[in-house]
Symmetry: C2
């Protein structure tokens, strides 16, 4: 690690205040338990044999219970009140510990364990339901997870907060339903217009690369090469396959990503690999002195998503990126023999209203998120019933994107989030996407962003190393000088597509 904050691994950033030190000791234990539970989850989604599911659910529930006990001890509560923060690190520590403490103490242990067991079971049922493309198999378990999630949110609700506010706050501190409505309200018509505008122009631009054969091992190797160039450290991480790509870290020295296999198209694995590496670079780039404290992970999920989206879209789908990488990609795959670099960049930037969120282009992606936001907001209010989800899902897709899922697998069952009880998570994807454009615009003014290592270092110094010391909105303001402004994303899209098709800007 380079940079002022992490020049000397042995130096401490926290003060010697004895309550702060004691808070750090307890935080270390809590971080260890959380990492252990994290590894059990990672394994559950990568290597666990199917008959291990029942026992695994119990193990996760037990660890959640132990975490809860330790995170709600009166000793901890007292320490939080007594601590005298001496610097920004102390202050962030106490702030985050206090926030977590409030959340944990309001939830009875039984509920925490039930929720953990219910989501673990629901995940396994979701996998089967998705495989069999049958939402009815999953409905009951989803209903159980939803009811427990709402019950938990009610216990955490502050005056003036909606249930959904509470859920949003879990992923992005201070985020509200109203604010999401406002920002999404602003961007929705623009994305709809851009979608109509560019889906016509770009139609068919990927015919030469879609539905061909791409040998899996070569896809894997190429992806690994790209993420190494980005600076992803494979001695401090690894890639595996899973039903749904994700990133998970167990300290700065062990941040893992997963991808998924598709031999007909090289885009799903390639862009998920770049996307997850964007997340992983964030976690690998955190100041090691924050490890095993509550500050040793990325701050709110919007900022996290800004990192993955920045690498996936602003870098991985840019003309300059493929000028460099296309010759090598082409040499790996016979299917690309007759494709030029220009054609390839247009092919990975086709705007096409479609069914699967994680394969969506940059323009329509936001509409996928807006659909999920509009549904889950009503779901937690009880205005939408779980049994009606496939119908409503399909209607919304028809309305906003003009496409209709043929079955549950490509419809309401495509995402894992609700099985995990992660209501309020989806909005951070679009917020992060907008943040990415805003951050990238600043980076472009300060460095040569086509130098991947330099870009990674700029992100590390400006964002990654701070962990949770600053919140997403504080960081964004520090870096870009202003709050989240959707105009950067709209401008970015307009400029990009105009350039791709040589329209005057």
């Amino acid at each position: 690690m380079n940079g002022q904050m992490s020049g000397n691994k042995k130096s401490k950033v926290f003060s010697k205040n004895k309550h702060v030190q004691e808070l750090l000791r307890i935080s270390g234990t809590l971080a260890d338990v959380a990492c252990a539970a994290g590894l059990l989850s990672w394994d559950q989604e990568t290597y666990m044999p199917p008959k291990g599911a029942g026992a695994r659910a119990k193990q996760l529930a037990t660890l959640a219970g132990i975490y809860h006990d330790k995170a709600t001890s009166s000793e901890l509560g007292k320490l939080i009140r007594q601590a005298k923060p001496q610097n920004i690190y102390d202050k962030a520590l106490v702030r985050e510990r206090e926030r977590a403490y409030r959340k944990e103490t309001k939830l009875p242990k039984k509920l925490v364990e039930e929720l953990s067991e219910a989501t673990s079971r629901a995940f396994n049922i979701w996998q089967r339901a998705k495989k069999e493309s049958d939402f009815s198999l999953f409905e009951k378990d989803l209903g159980g997870v939803l009811a427990l999630s709402v019950q938990a949110a009610k216990l955490l609700q502050k005056k003036g907060q909606t249930i959904y506010d509470v859920m949003l706050d879990d992923y992005e501190h201070g985020l509200t339903e109203k604010e999401v409505e406002r920002v999404f309200g602003e961007i929705k018509p623009k994305l709809t217009a851009l979608s109509k505008r560019w889906s016509k122009t770009t139609a068919g631009a990927d015919l030469k690369i879609a539905n061909k054969g791409y040998e899996w091992q070569k896809q894997w190797d190429f992806g690994i090469r790209v993420i190494k160039d980005m600076g992803y450290d494979l001695d401090a991480g690894r890639q595996d396959t899973s039903a749904h790509p994700f990133t998970i870290g167990f300290g700065v020295g062990d941040v893992r990503i997963t991808t998924w296999k598709n031999e007909q198209d090289l885009r799903p694995a390639l862009f998920s690999t770049i996307h997850e590496s964007g997340h992983a670079l964030y976690e690998q780039g955190i100041d090691p002195r924050l490890e095993r404290t509550i500050l040793g992970n990325g701050t709110g999920l919007s900022m996290h998503e800004s990192q993955s989206r920045l690498w996936e879209n602003m870098v991985g789908k840019s003309e300059w990126f493929w000028e460099k990488y296309f010759p090598s990609l082409k040499s790996h795959f016979p299917s690309l023999k007759k494709v030029t670099s220009d054609e390839f960049v247009r092919a990975v930037n086709v705007v096409r209203p479609s069914l699967i969120r994680v394969e969506a282009d940059e323009v329509t992606y936001g509409l996928h998120i807006i659909i999920r936001f509009e549904i889950e907001r009503e779901l937690v209010k009880g205005k939408i019933k779980t049994k009606d989800l496939p119908k409503i899902w399909n209607q919304k897709y028809k309305e906003l994107l003009g496409v209709a899922p043929k079955n549950d697998r490509e419809g309401v069952l495509q995402d894992v989030h609700w099985a995990h009880g992660s209501f309020g998570y989806f909005p951070t994807y679009l917020l992060g996407t907008m943040m990415a454009a805003q951050i990238f615009a600043t980076a472009q003014k300060q460095i040569d962003v086509t130098n991947l290592k330099a870009l990674r270092e700029w992100l590390r110094v400006n964002i990654h190393r701070y962990g949770k010391v600053y919140t997403s909105s504080e960081l964004l303001k520090r870096i870009t000088g202003e709050s989240l402004n959707p105009k950067y994303f709209v401008e970015y899209l307009q400029n990009k597509f105009n350039a791709l098709y040589n329209f005057p800007q």
Copy 2:
């Protein structure tokens, strides 16, 4: 699952005594924490990236500390005293819980955490030291682990027990240094004589199969086919590769094995796969109603080893086994084109005093164990210093086996056990090997052992399903009608080799 004990998964084997029920609840939590730590260890030896080692050591130490706290609570102590066991299951539960409680309460939490962290670190250093074949890298950490292990044993020592007795008892309840000396004393001259006798006769019998090319994927597939035939359930387990093959279970539905890769010789992977599956069948065969109790694993390690050795040797190195499997094996590997089934069986039964324990034949294997026993017994007494280990190791090999390691990798660094702090573990390998012969002799009288599924079922009904309800020696006596008797192993070896070379018996 079939069989009387597990016919109905929902029926309970334990009584409704409220203290027993409360003991089961606490046992469930403890089992979950142990399984979580187990998964962290599995991952550490299979997939963890190298830079994750430091944080992993801390995570394992924290889980060990949590386990220790829960296993030593005064609530648990009180319950053990109050419980009124109603049947054999209750009795075994209280017995095992009490035994564990005594051990756990005598060890201060700090020592438990130190030991966990020290062994975790030592494991990583051992991997590097082995790779670089340099014992000096490992010496200091081994010394640390040894000192902590001795310190722990001293705290557990009962009147009349040696330090090494305490260590043995950890792996096989009631086993003593004296008894090991007696049994090993009886078998040592016999193995030495057999080794001399048969190493001459069998010399060169594997020249046609050793040091050829065997494609790894085909080795893997063949191994998987064999263990499926044995009844290993791959929906309740999986195989991976690691530096040293091992078996680990997280409940009856998730019992994993590992093997190691060798493309020059097919024996190391094949026989380790069969060996570890023998262990895994034991764990997969335990009555599911014992899961998450302290009874839900195999009983003492000798009995566990008897299962792996029985499959590896009595089955996997027999003439009848290869009569069935050799044609298929041969069809996979060009190197075997000119080898007959008879030649192959002789080749996998070459008696050759050699350097690596896990690749040793059935005759000399015991001598490898006796060497380790003789060394570690003196090591814990302080009569051997860690710095002298390579020298003493090499001397013993020269004396007993007539061979001398050229370097530390093929000498003192070959086994992981001491890095894990597992002193007193090795003897169970030879005891288990002898038990296997005794059990197999009984099985041969009762069933057609060449029917692998029938053999597995016989073992399941007679041994596996009971978990820790009976101790190793109780089980052995129930099955065979007598205590451990080395004559069965000697007779088995004599008969086998006489038959292989058509000598009159």
